[in-house]
Subunit: 272 residues, 2 copies
Amino acid sequence: MSHSNEPETFTAVSQVVRTSPGRFDTVISPDWTIAGKPNGGYLLAILGRAATDVSVHDHVLAASAHYLHSPDPGPASIETEVLRMGRSASQVRARLTQDGKPCIEAITTIGTLDADTKPYWTEGLPTPAVRDRASAVRLPGTNPSGVRVSIMGQVDLRIDQEDAGFGIGKPRGVGELNGWLELPGGEAFDPLALLYAVDAFPPATFDIELTGWVPTLELTAYVRALPAPGPVRVQQKAQLIDAQKVDEACFVWDSTGRLVAQATQLAGIRLG
Amino acid sequence: MSHSNEPETFTAVSQVVRTSPGRFDTVISPDWTIAGKPNGGYLLAILGRAATDVSVHDHVLAASAHYLHSPDPGPASIETEVLRMGRSASQVRARLTQDGKPCIEAITTIGTLDADTKPYWTEGLPTPAVRDRASAVRLPGTNPSGVRVSIMGQVDLRIDQEDAGFGIGKPRGVGELNGWLELPGGEAFDPLALLYAVDAFPPATFDIELTGWVPTLELTAYVRALPAPGPVRVQQKAQLIDAQKVDEACFVWDSTGRLVAQATQLAGIRLG
């Protein structure tokens, strides 16, 4: 992996290399980190790539991950197990380990998304405000808590100006962040990149109260359609903070306004 | 298991018996079925019971399941693997098989919920309408498609009159069902019973268009607090139907109005 000034593509930093049937090696990039810790959605995409490789189907439709231990950047291993290989979908278990220590356990359902489908019913989805991407606030490489967020030097992540008060110490109390995400070099999103997109945003709790690390305990993503090229629109919202845990829902629309991915996560938080 | 007129308790029908370290037997009840197929949340509760048994912690906090093959009522086996045993939480993988065939693969995070906590921030939750349980419509043992729903002879599941149009062929098009759920004999809910509660309701798509079976592909549940005794209030809502799949969000409040569980699921549907 090169470390020139040009950021590597998402596809490059999420590569896996098969070492034996069902087993893979990967290298977790030091650039896709927050305070030195790799982003959880980025890691899920690596697992999804391995799971897709062992399936006869093409696209992750659903992925559920429980985070046991945050790995460090550097070499890691993935072990997969095909649970079922069906006609229209297959299920694959995938585990990321580092130095023999389990870090993430995931289950995926892999199928094939058809480029020619159209949504049948969308009434239950939120409708994010129509806003101008150019006026949105691009997140810098250091967050409001003073933490180094290397990953912001890789992706172009912008929060709507109206939602970005947390950056100047003025969270609104709404618990919702809307914005845009673009991959390095403007690379088109695919289902694996969407597994990253659903965990790319800062915790929506930053719009309630600034805290330190909000570590993901569980993340479930559904990929609903093949995304059109271009930046995606993202809505990340907190629902409940109780007993030092928060759940967040995430919705991702492609550049044509189609909902292409959604997710929920449960995370730890030092509030309540 | 008896088949007297008195329904068995949820605790009884979700029992597991340890046969060797990490392995359990169970008997899936023929009474907790829809068209002869066991309810998916009920099956997840069985897996959750096995996972809790092998953990030093007490309560399922998060459970993610992918459904590979619908088992039949009768004997089934569960195999668990402790992925990590931490101080405040542990993670356990659990797999339900029948006649050697994998049926459900689940990952759980087990922790301990404290009875004395209070929610810290609830602004991101939906607020279900205040309605009268007595006037709600109790679901019968046969659904509008003519399918036998044995499980309705066990639990007391009521849909708000305002949302129950699907029962007389008049779905509203909103894709949301609000109502109440009570366990047999009024048994108090616990975290395991909540894993059933998040999948107990009919598909919220019945309020859009009546279809046949809407099989769950993936179900993720978060248990957020220990529930008070009494029936729970449930909101089940569809968000998007695309390419013959629907996702639904579910929220469960206890009798004091506290959010105790929430879930999302991805299911197959013959629409779109």
